[in-house]
């Protein structure tokens, strides 16, 4: 006689390993990085980031193709000029994806679930900022890498020069990503409604860019070149361009650039100050949200 029964194994306790802070922060970073590109979420969340990433690639591939046919050196977009040239697309990416990282979990009150676990406030903020910076860096660095690879394949002259300019442009991309990520996350963290967040980030980008362009225009009419240069500190793309030109030896792609080594150092300090300030503000914001 055979008796078959279905065994309900019931509840089992977890006896395995529990990993520490580094693992949790890494998991959180990866989770946010995936979220920035809509991975792990429905298909419509993936449309925007991948569409923008594809648009970012178009000029690079076009430029390489043009160079391959014409062999004119001007056909290749300078590496350091790529991000400022495409700044509208990068700003849209920042505006649509910063709210995904900064305000989505605020809006749905998920934050207390993190802080009722052994997740530290600073780790949490650094993971989010790190993920946003990485996402923005990838957005800019991939097309530049395509440009560089294209230049190598089509045997552009002076490969050594190309390598140096490519690498310094990557450093520039890190700064762009840091500045934009810091600004975008802070604005988004204070506008819990997603639509407002997108609008607010875009508005800040447009207003600063327009404001700086007006100041620079007026200053140049007065032939006050130094004021025009320093005004560039107040627009994110111009700010990083100052560092690129003054400290990394790139060619300017902005209307005006703050003068000399001091200009570059002040711009770099401003970039780092923005990042540090952003961490402090986000820390306070999420800490408060964890208690609500």
């Amino acid at each position: 006689m055979s008796v078959s029964t279905i065994h309900d194994i019931g509840y089992r306790h977890y006896e395995g390993r529990r990993l520490g802070r580094a693992y949790m922060t890494r998991s959180l970073y990866l989770h946010n990085l995936r979220a920035a590109y809509g991975l792990g979420r429905p298909a419509r969340a993936k449309v925007m980031p991948f569409l923008l990433a594809a648009i970012m690639l178009l000029p690079a591939t076009g430029s390489v193709a043009a160079f391959a046919i014409t062999k004119e050196a001007e056909a290749l977009i300078p590496y350091a000029a790529y991000a400022p040239t495409m700044q509208a697309i990068i700003a849209i990416f920042m505006a649509t994806q910063a709210p995904v990282l900064a305000s989505r979990e605020l809006r749905f009150h998920v934050i207390p679930l993190y802080f009722s676990r052994p997740v530290g406030h600073l780790d949490f903020v650094l993971a989010k900022l790190g993920a946003m910076v990485t996402a923005l860096f990838a957005l800019m660095a991939v097309p530049i890498t395509v440009l560089y690879a294209g230049a190598l394949v089509t045997r552009a002259p002076d490969p050594g020069e190309h390598l140096v300019r490519f690498l310094t442009a990557l450093v520039g991309c890190v700064l762009y990503a840091l500045v934009l990520g810091a600004i975008g996350l802070v604005i988004a963290a204070f506008t819990p409604r997603r639509g407002f967040g997108v609008a607010a980030v875009i508005a800040v980008y447009l207003v600063t860019a327009a404001f700086v362009a007006i100041i620079q225009g007026l200053a140049e009419m007065e032939s006050n070149w130094s004021l025009a240069g320093w005004a560039g500190l107040f627009a994110p793309f111009n700010l990083v361009d100052i560092v690129q030109v003054r400290l990394l030896g790139a060619e300017s792609s902005s209307i005006a650039i703050a003068p000399g080594l001091p200009g570059g150092l002040v711009a770099l300090a401003t970039c780092l100050g923005l990042a540090a300030g952003s961490v402090a503000v986000l820390y306070a914001r999420f800490r408060k949200a964890g208690l609500s």
């Binding site: 019931g10 509840y11 089992r12 306790h13 977890y14 395995g16 390993r17 529990r18 990993l19 520490g20 693992y23 949790m24 998991s27 959180l28 989770h31 792990g40 979420r41 429905p42 969340a45 989505r104 979990e105 749905f108 009150h109 998920v110 207390p112 679930l113 993190y114 802080f115 009722s116 676990r117 052994p118 997740v119 530290g120 964890g290 208690l291």
Partner: protein, 321 residues
């Protein structure tokens, strides 16, 4: 060892005192924390999680001090908040796996535990769909799953039956009972409804206006009273009059009659009167106290056990925050 112990715990906000010198100790098991809205339940949980430093006083959870060992506490407890806390655009599986990893569970273990836990709370195929399409009952289960996924020693459930229909409420209460008995995890469950905690808790703590009103085992609240509930098919009033004439203390309540038990003879009098009137007796039972009566009658006489109550200054309080 008590799982939770507080000593003169006080929490003052600029405009309201949320906890007022609360001293209480509870043993492992399913513990109910009852109080009106704004009585300080959620504040107490935040303090016990080590997230909110109290104004004064001390507390320990699982023998760990909240001020110095908050992180160690948070590794060992789970928390299900009162409010909605789920992102709508991810699946329950994805979300619970992520929350398991946030407790330090390695990737494979996190996936296994998430699948097990979702099954235990009663979510099956629907766990692969985005949470946005879930019913309130399903969302409550996901919230419970994320609190359980890392196999805590103690979980805090803040109003887990809120917004559920009667069937969903019963299922949630059964689940809480199972967590305490089958899973062997201690539970601190809050509610503003005493009646439902009566069913699942071993011990009930009642706070009001941030003060301890009572802390004792459930049985102590529900001891038998000296009142009989009598239910007859029809002719309630006729029976009531006859019993009154027979010298019993009788009063109607709903479809029932409540009769004070004067002695053994009371039962006989009721039986005989019902027979004389040829009524159909549906039930005659000794009434139990309900926990609600603590609120209705204020400070009680006999104490069943648990911590001794402080001087009670019971006044109904609104819901300040």
């Amino acid at each position: 060892m008590p799982i939770i112990a507080t000593d003169a715990l006080t929490m003052r906000f600029p405009r309201v005192t949320a906890l007022d010198a609360l001293s209480v100790a509870v043993e492992p098991g399913v513990v109910g924390l009852v109080g009106a809205n704004g009585a300080g339940k959620s504040t107490l949980i935040k303090i016990l999680l080590g997230l909110l430093p109290p104004t004064s006083g001390r507390a320990s959870v699982l023998g760990l001090d909240i001020a110095r060992e908050g992180e160690a506490i948070r590794e060992r407890v789970g928390f299900m908040p009162e409010y909605e806390c789920l992102p709508p655009d991810v699946s329950a599986t994805e979300f619970v796996v992520h929350m398991a990893r946030m407790c330090g569970l390695p990737p494979t273990a996190a996936r296994e535990r998430a699948a097990d836990t979702l099954r235990h709370v009663g979510l099956y195929e629907e766990r692969y769909r985005p949470i946005g399409g879930y019913s309130t009952g399903m969302r409550q289960r996901v919230k419970l799953a994320q609190a359980l996924v890392h196999d805590p020693q103690l979980i805090f459930l803040d109003e887990p039956t809120n917004g559920l229909d009667p069937a969903g409420r019963d299922e949630m209460l059964d689940l809480i009972r199972r967590i305490g008995t089958e899973f062997g995890i201690s539970v601190l469950v809050t509610s503003h409804l005493l009646g439902e905690l009566e069913r699942v808790c071993d011990h009930v703590v009642i706070i009001d206006g941030g003060r301890l009103l009572r802390s004792q085992a459930v049985e102590a609240y529900t001891t038998e009273s000296g009142v009989l509930t009598v239910e007859v098919d029809e002719g309630r009033d006729e029976l009531g009059r006859r019993l009154y004439d027979a010298g019993l203390s009788v009063r109607p309540e709903g479809r029932f009659l409540l009769v004070d038990i004067a002695g053994e003879s009371t039962y006989d009098v009721i039986r005989d009167t019902v027979a004389e009137l040829e009524l159909r007796l549906v039930r005659m039972e000794q009434r139990r106290h309900r926990i609600e009566e603590v609120f209705a009658t204020g400070p009680p006489g006999p104490q069943g056990g648990g911590a001794p109550p402080p001087p009670v200054d019971y006044a109904p309080q609104g819901a300040p925050r």
